[in-house]
Every structure is written in C-alpha cells, then in structure tokens.
C-alpha cells in the first residue's frame, strides 16, 4: 500500500501539473480587460485555459506497475487517479468561476455552460487516460502520457476547428444543437472509460512472496 501511495505522489507528475495550472491561469489573464463578458468569449477562454492542465493528466499513469511493486495495475492506476481527481475538480471549479463570474456577476445560462464544459473536460481527461493506459509502459517512461496528451490535443483541435455540423465545441447553450453535441461528448466519455477499464485489466495474477 505504501508503494501505491508513493507512486501516486510522484514528484515529476505534480511538477508538470503545477506548470500546467500556471499556464491555465496565464491563459485566463490573456483575456482583454474591459472586454464585454459574454458566453461565447467565456466558452472559448475556458476551453483554452483548460487545455494545458488537461494535457498533464495522462502523465498520472506513468509506469504505475513498476512503482507499485507487487500491486496490480488496476489498483495502482485507481490509486493515482483517486489522488488526481479531487485536485482536478477544484481547479476546474476555479477556472469555470473565473470565466463565468466576471466581476462577481453570473452570466446568463452559466449553469448550462458550466455543465457542458465540465462534460467536455471530463471526456478529454478520460480519453487521455484511456489512451495512456493502452500504451505499454515498456516503450518509455513518459511515452504513455505523451501519447495520451497527443490524443487529447487531436480531439481538441478537431472539436475547435472543424466546421458546423461536425464541430464538437459549440459557443453557448443557446445553440440549438448544444444538447445533441453533448450527447456525443457523453458517448465519447463512456467509450474512453471503457477503454481505460479494458486497458488496465491485469493480464497476470501477482503472486505474493512467502
């Protein structure tokens, strides 16, 4: 158990998470002062601000098997994610409140926007973790994390750049296809969680030493 906790609290991961968080805050500060706060600007700023933080999450799975010793992969990975998730939620709430509460005022439809953005963020996180879990750690220490982050950035770029009707990022909950698009995000989230589950299954039973 101690090995699992030590693995979960590994220093390099937290270091890049802090850098990612700093970049997210910097992205929010790049918004122009005096700009009229609106949902479209808020959604664009929030998505961009989330990006640096999101791409650090797949590194949480860095070689858990090696560091966890005899513990199973599933337990090792679950333990890591259990440490990561609360901090992610806190940071997400902070970033969302920064963009949706300009000057202490709640933007109209902010609740719908917040839930939509959280779903998108969760899906991107789950995709990165799922892909990272799929990549064998023997390829190198940071390679699973890198490929997980690359898959997140690919989905982000397509969601941002593809034209309507394929664009997965919509500007505001007033968009008539907001709900339909978020059903697609939800399906992607379920797919990513299933991917993570199957990629993290233990192929070999760990024998305890006598």
């Amino acid at each position: 158990m101690n090995g699992l906790v030590r693995g979960a609290l590994k220093r390099p991961y937290w270091r890049i998470t802090i850098i990612g968080f700093a970049m997210s805050v910097a992205a929010l500060l790049l918004r122009e002062r005096g700009e009229f706060p609106d949902l479209i600007g808020a959604s664009r700023a929030a998505r961009l601000a989330f990006l640096p933080l999101l791409v650090t999450v797949p590194y949480a799975l860095e070689d858990p098997f090696i560091e966890a010793g005899c513990a199973t992969r599933t337990r090792g990975r679950t333990m890591k994610l259990a440490f990561v998730a609360p901090s992610l939620v806190l940071v997400a709430v902070f970033l969302l409140s920064a963009v949706l509460l300009p000057g202490g005022r709640i933007l109209l439809n902010a609740r719908g926007m917040a839930s939509g953005l959280l779903l998108e963020g969760s899906t991107l996180t789950a995709l990165g973790i799922g892909v990272a879990a799929l990549v064998p750690s023997r390829l190198g220490r940071a390679v699973p994390g890198l490929l997980g982050a690359a898959s997140q950035m690919a989905l982000f770029a397509f969601a941002w750049m593809l034209p309507v009707p394929w664009r997965l990022f919509r500007d505001s909950p007033l968009d008539p296809s907001w709900e339909a698009i978020h059903r697609v995000w939800a399906a992607l989230l379920v797919g990513s969680v299933v991917l993570f589950h199957f990629a993290s299954r233990d192929r070999y039973r760990c024998r305890s030493r006598r």
Binding site: P12, A27, V55, L139, L146, A154, A157, D171
Partner: protein, 561 residues
C-alpha cells in the same frame, strides 16, 4: 575513422528514413486530406479558399511531425536505441543538426499532400485562381513545428514538456488571432499576422482584391523556422559560421515582419487605386455569356459557376408568364469584404453613401458573390439568387435607399406579390424547394419554445432577410402561403398566375386578394395561435406584448414599391 561530413550525411539519412517509416505521418496525411475537404462544408470549392486555408488543413500533419520529432529527439528517454545511430561517432551538435535537416522529409511529404489536395479539389470542379505562395504556408508550418519540437527536446530534455509547449503555442496563436478569445472576431491589427494560422476572410475574394500580401506569411513562417533552428545550433556550437547563419536567419524573420504589418495596416494608395480601378472597369475584364436573353458575367477563373447561377434564374423565368427578364447576372464582391481604402477610392457613381456606411449603387442586376453555399437550411445561395430573380420579375427593386441620414428598409408584409416571389423562388429548382422547406421548418408558424425555457411566437420576423436582401423585410406569413402553394400542382398555379399576373405582381394588391385568387387556406392569426398553445397567463401576456412591439415596428416601416 569516418570523415565528419560523411557521418553527418549518414545521420541525416538515418533520421530521414526513420521519419519516412513512421506510420503516423501517413495517417496524418490522410487526415489532412480529409480535413481540407471538410473545412468548407456545403459550399462549392474554390482554389483560392483552399490556398488560403492551407495552414489549417495541414495541421494534422504538422502536429504529427511535432510529436514525432519530439520523440526522436528524446530517444534515450524512451529506452529506445537505434544501433546505427548510436554507433555513429558524432557529437550532440551534429545529431541535432541531422534531426533538423531531416525535417525536409516531412516537409516534402506535406508537398505531396498539397498536390493530392489540389487533385481532389479539381475533381470536385473547383473554380478560381490558385494562390501558390499561400499554399506553401502548410508545408512551412510542418517544418516549423518539427523544429520547435526538436528545440523543446534539446533544451528541456523532457517528454512531458512537449504537450505543454503545444498547448502554449495554441493559446498564444488563438490570442494573436482573435480579439481576446471572444466571439470569434478576427483581430484587425497587425498582431493577427504574427499568428501561425491566419484565418482567411469569410468571403474569399479573387487574389487581385486581397489585402494579404501573397508570400509574406510564408516568408514569416520560414524565417521563424530558420531562426529557431539557427539559434538552437548556435547554442550547441558557437563558431563564426553558425553565428553568421543565425544572424542571416533572424534577418529574414525581421525582414518579413514589416511586410506583414504593411499588408495588415492597409494598402498603399497605389494598390487601393489599382484595385478600385479594376472594380470600376471590371465589366471589361469579366467573362460574359448570354443564355436565353440573360447575360451572365463572371470574374476570370469563375466562369464554370455560370451554369450554377443559370439554374435558379432560368427556373424562375420558366415559371413566370413573362418573356423579358430585364436584368443581367454579374458577379460582384460584397462591399464590406473590401478594404476601406479600396472602397473610398471607388468612383462616386458606383456607390450610395449614408451615415451608416456605403453600398453598391443599385443597377437592377443580380450579383452573386465569390462563395456559393449549397447547405439547404440556411443561407442557401441558390434560394437567395432565386428570390432575387423572382423579385425583379414581380417588379421589386430592392436597392439601398437613403432616408434622412441612414439606409431605409421597406416591408413586403401584406403584399400579394410576396406570395408570388416565395412560390417562384421556392419552385424554381429542386435545391431552392428544399431550402425554402428548410427555412419554414426551422422557424415554423406558431408558438415555439424559445430560449430560457419561455415561449416565443415566431410569426412576424422576416425570413428572407438573411439571404442577401438587406433592405427588404419579408413577412413570414406570405412566405408560408408561398410554401402552401408549392404543395399544389405546378401547372395549376402557373395557370392562375398567368391569368392574374398584373394583379399578383402589383404592390397595391393585398394578401387577402391573393388568398382568394389562389384558393389558399388562411393561417391562424397570432392571437389565435397564443390561445391554441394554452400558455400560462403570464407567458401569454408577455408574448402578446412582444407581438405588439414587433407588429408596431413592422407597420411603421414603409411598404416596398
């Protein structure tokens, strides 16, 4: 012992082969090819737009090169050793130089993708001129992102840094391009030109009318690539040659900056006058053909769109019981897409000016632009041109008119000829029929649940306003009657129209008369619709109040003559 130069060549060869063998580049190339065709959905392709968006559709290949170059630079961290590479007697500087030079492989690969995109686009019958210098932006970005990845690997020596650098680049790029991330408005100042992906204007104009200096952005991106590479090499080995190369590269970068800024802060007076003159004398440069007594004129390179314009125009003329069209179809850029300097240099007789801006002077002709939307449910270009043609046929001339200091709008509400226009335009072609049905379905006649959980009555808003007739308000009621008429046999409606043509095209004939002549079923009134919807009293009262405001606004607008 091998000669250092042959070792370097060997290193370059091995790195290039490794790039060429990576399957991800092939997958990314296919993604770029697909992306290039998806960027303008529902529009007829133009080579000009394809050229101006090369940076965007090359993104998958550029991103794949970024991650691949980063992985190859940080090979030791991956516990992956390439025996041939490791065994070669070369220092770190040569190895990095070999990796940078080997990026010529992915860049060449991207040129093949460019050729493939052009081939696929030509198979889709694209029109317009190709802007070759802009097409090279994509391959330049592939080289730039590759060099940035190598520099990240060499300087930070961490695979974990790569995605953060990519995310940082994305944030800075969006910040440079858009005004504070908000509402997708592209920055008008020079900073947008420092972004890697410069979004093209919404409406693509022919290259002779573009303010963007062709080739300046390629020079900027290539200068940036060479500068990053040269500074990286300078850090590894400070020799006189490397210092001179670095200075030359930075010189190219610095030199490209003023070209970009000049291009973005407006045209020179000569350029503006030249463009204005080409527009003023444009009629001579246009290629024109006459089909069934209607003259169609297109800019050079756009001639193959003439059959596209012919379909809705001939469709309307076939249905109307009149032989004289009385208009020509002449391609014209939208005025708001031209640079301000060009507009101010245009001769006064071409424009109508008011306090709210300028408009082309109305000449009675139809003016399709430089994009053609096929999408059936919104801003379908075929329906728009059919509406324009049908308006001329019934004697409506929707040109800009100055009243006081501003442009005035007029309303078609209550006029029988609005029903005639709706039927002629909707019935003209299969595409315009689908578009009109789409318009009606997207804003049905009745009480609909609106934003914020309330209910709205979309009854008196104009419907065709988004299709290009800026100064004419089309009433939803007449458009719905026109759609009702489309359900009847065409010959039957044509016969009634032919028998009552003067009455049904007169601005003085009221809608009620058309209902009688055409035997149309009367629509429920807004008050009846509110009662039918059985809304809560407070909601019903709010709707009635909103309806009163809309009706007052509509009745205060002057009827179209």
């Amino acid at each position: 012992m091998s000669h250092p130069r042959s070792v370097l060549l060997r290193l370059i060869w091995l790195e290039a082969v490794a790039f060429a063998r990576a399957p991800i580049l092939g997958i990314a190339s296919i993604a770029s090819l697909v992306f290039s065709q998806l960027l303008t959905p529902g529009q007829l392709p133009t080579y000009t737009r394809m050229s101006l968006t090369s940076g965007e559709w090359m993104l998958p290949l550029a991103a794949a090169t970024f991650f691949l170059a980063g992985l190859r630079t940080l090979r030791p961290q991956r516990w992956a050793a390439d025996e041939w590479l490791t065994a070669l007697p070369a220092d770190r500087a040569r190895r990095i130089l070999a990796q940078v030079v080997s990026l010529a492989g992915p860049a060449a690969h991207s040129l093949i993708v460019v050729s493939s995109v052009l081939l696929v686009t030509s198979l889709r019958h694209a029109v317009g001129p190709i802007v070759w210098a802009e097409l090279l932006v994509g391959p330049s970005l592939v080289a730039l992102l590759g060099v940035v990845a190598i520099a990240t690997g060499a300087l930070l020596r961490s695979l974990r840094a790569l995605p953060l650098v990519a995310a940082g680049l994305a944030i800075v790029d969006v910040w440079l391009t858009y005004t504070g991330f908000a509402s997708g408005a592209v920055r008008s100042g020079p900073s947008a030109w420092f972004a890697l992906f410069v979004p093209p204007p919404t409406t693509i104009l022919p290259p002779s009318l573009l303010s963007r200096p062709a080739g300046a952005h390629v020079a900027y991106v290539l200068g940036l690539t060479a500068s990053v590479a040269a500074l990286l090499m300078l850090r590894e080995r400070r020799t006189r040659t490397s210092v001179m190369i670095a200075m030359a590269c930075v010189g190219v970068l610095v030199g490209s900056v003023p070209i970009q800024i000049i291009g973005s802060t407006g045209l020179t007076a000569d350029d503006a006058e030249r463009q204005a003159a080409s527009l003023a004398t444009g009629q001579a440069a246009l290629s024109c053909v006459v089909r069934r007594d209607v003259r169609y004129c297109a800019f050079p390179g756009y001639e193959s769109w003439i059959p596209v314009w012919t379909a809705p125009v001939e469709g309307v003329l076939r249905l109307a019981p009149t032989s004289d069209a009385g208009f020509a179809v002449v391609q014209q850029p939208e005025l708001e897409r031209l640079e301000e300097d060009v507009v101010s240099s245009l001769p006064a007789h071409m424009l109508v000016r008011s306090s709210s801006g300028e408009e082309w002077r109305y000449d009675g002709n139809l003016h399709p632009g430089f994009s053609w939307t096929l999408r059936p449910f919104e801003r379908s270009s075929e329906l728009a041109l059919a509406v324009d043609a049908a308006s001329r046929v019934v004697g409506l001339h929707p040109g800009p008119r100055v009243e006081g200091r501003f442009f005035a709008t007029c309303t078609m509400a209550g006029q029988a000829r609005a029903i005639t226009v709706a039927w002629l335009a909707g019935q003209a072609t299969a595409a315009s029929r689908a578009s009109l049905r789409g318009v009606i379905e997207s804003e049905p006649w009745g009480v609909t649940s609106g934003e914020a959980g309330g209910a709205s009555l979309s009854a008196v808003q104009s419907l065709f306003g988004g299709l290009g007739q800026t100064y004419v308000n089309w009433d939803k009621r007449e458009i719905n009657y026109g759609a009702q008429l489309m359900q009847r046999p065409e010959e039957e409606v044509r016969a009634v129209l032919a028998a009552n043509w003067r009455l049904l095209t007169s601005p003085r004939t009221p809608t009620s008369k058309a209902l009688e002549l055409l035997d149309l079923r009367e629509l429920r009134t807004p008050d009846q619709l509110i009662e039918d919807a059985a809304l809560a009293p407070i909601q019903a009262e709010a709707l009635r109040a909103r309806l009163r405001v809309e009706t007052d606004s509509e009745t205060s607008t002057q009827p179209c003559r």
